[in-house]
């Protein structure tokens, strides 16, 4: 019986702590940031590689899209600091509240690779990454899709 009381007390403490965290909005912001990073990782991994230029050009922006291209010749690879910059951008999500978040690619052949052409099969990396995100959202219990 003593053990049961202890368990109930612990359960109450955890529920209250979760409620405070949820009320302060930390939970939603954490989830948005996690989804952004998950989406970035997922879409990057689904992107096919020839020179690496297309895979290199995925980025995250908040509030508005960017027109910046990250590789100039298609021969450059990610430097040590650049993945950290992407993470820093994604980590602004909590401060940005509920702004629109973009995961985008400015390589000029990104759309034909994603959507296909009469002579080339589509890769659908954006749609596949969205499928992964929907599965993640379902598992966090944020919403039912």
């Amino acid at each position: 019986m003593a053990l049961l009381k202890s368990n109930v007390a612990e359960f109450n403490t955890k529920i209250l702590a979760w409620g405070k965290m949820h009320k302060s909005g930390i939970t939603m912001n954490t989830i948005v940031r996690k989804l952004l990073l998950d989406g970035l990782v997922s879409v990057t991994n689904y992107t096919p590689v020839d020179t690496g230029y297309l895979r290199y050009n995925w980025t995250v922006t908040i509030g508005r899209p960017t027109s910046e291209k990250f590789g100039t010749e298609g021969l450059k690879t990610l430097t040590y600091s650049e993945p950290q910059n992407l993470q820093a951008e994604a980590s602004k999500a909590p401060k940005a509240g509920f702004n629109v978040h973009y995961i985008q690619n400015n390589a000029n052949y990104a759309e034909p690779v994603n959507n296909g052409t009469p002579r080339m099969e589509a890769r659908q990396m954006v749609e596949l990454a969205m499928g992964d995100l929907i599965m993640s959202v379902n598992e966090t219990g944020v919403m039912a899709v």
Binding site: N115, T117, P118, A122, Q124, L128, M130, G131, M135
Partner: protein, 142 residues
């Protein structure tokens, strides 16, 4: 469930519920993964479809269980001759959407749950006008 049964079940849905019943295309007008390139390189049809199955991530669904969920996209790229309008291709697009929209399909031991398809005009490339029907799906490994 194996990936062979999953792919066969999705192709069966497309073959039985679109190709077999459509007056717009026949079996020779469909290009599946790794088969049927030659016929359409020559441009011998006014309308043809490339049907692809792209599987995404697989994840374990429950703690202490081996049930895994695999998500993916079934993509029907509809190509019609450029300069002929979009009625022909959109008619076929509607047939594809109605065959897959929010449907559960069981075939050969695999059960596939299809979500709502999205339709997107990709536009003209050479002598073809392209419209994509992207159909998200998932299947659970029982």
């Amino acid at each position: 469930m194996t990936f062979v049964t999953v792919h066969n079940a999705i192709r069966n849905r497309f073959s039985a519920n679109v190709v077999a019943s459509s007056s717009a295309i026949g079996t020779d007008d469909v290009v599946y993964d790794n088969i049927g390139f030659e016929a359409h390189d020559a441009g011998d049809s006014a309308l043809w479809v490339r049907f692809q199955i792209l599987t995404g991530e697989s994840e374990v669904r429950e703690l202490g269980s081996s049930v895994a969920r695999t998500t993916g996209i079934a993509l029907a790229s509809v190509f019609s001759l450029a300069g002929r309008g979009d009625n022909l291709s959109l008619g076929l697009v509607d047939e594809i959407v109605s065959a897959f929209k929010s449907t559960t399909h069981t075939y050969g031991g695999a059960t596939i749950v299809f979500r709502t398809p999205s339709v997107q005009h990709i536009g003209r490339d050479g002598s073809w006008w392209q419209t994509n029907v992207s159909i998200p799906f998932y299947t659970d490994d029982a």
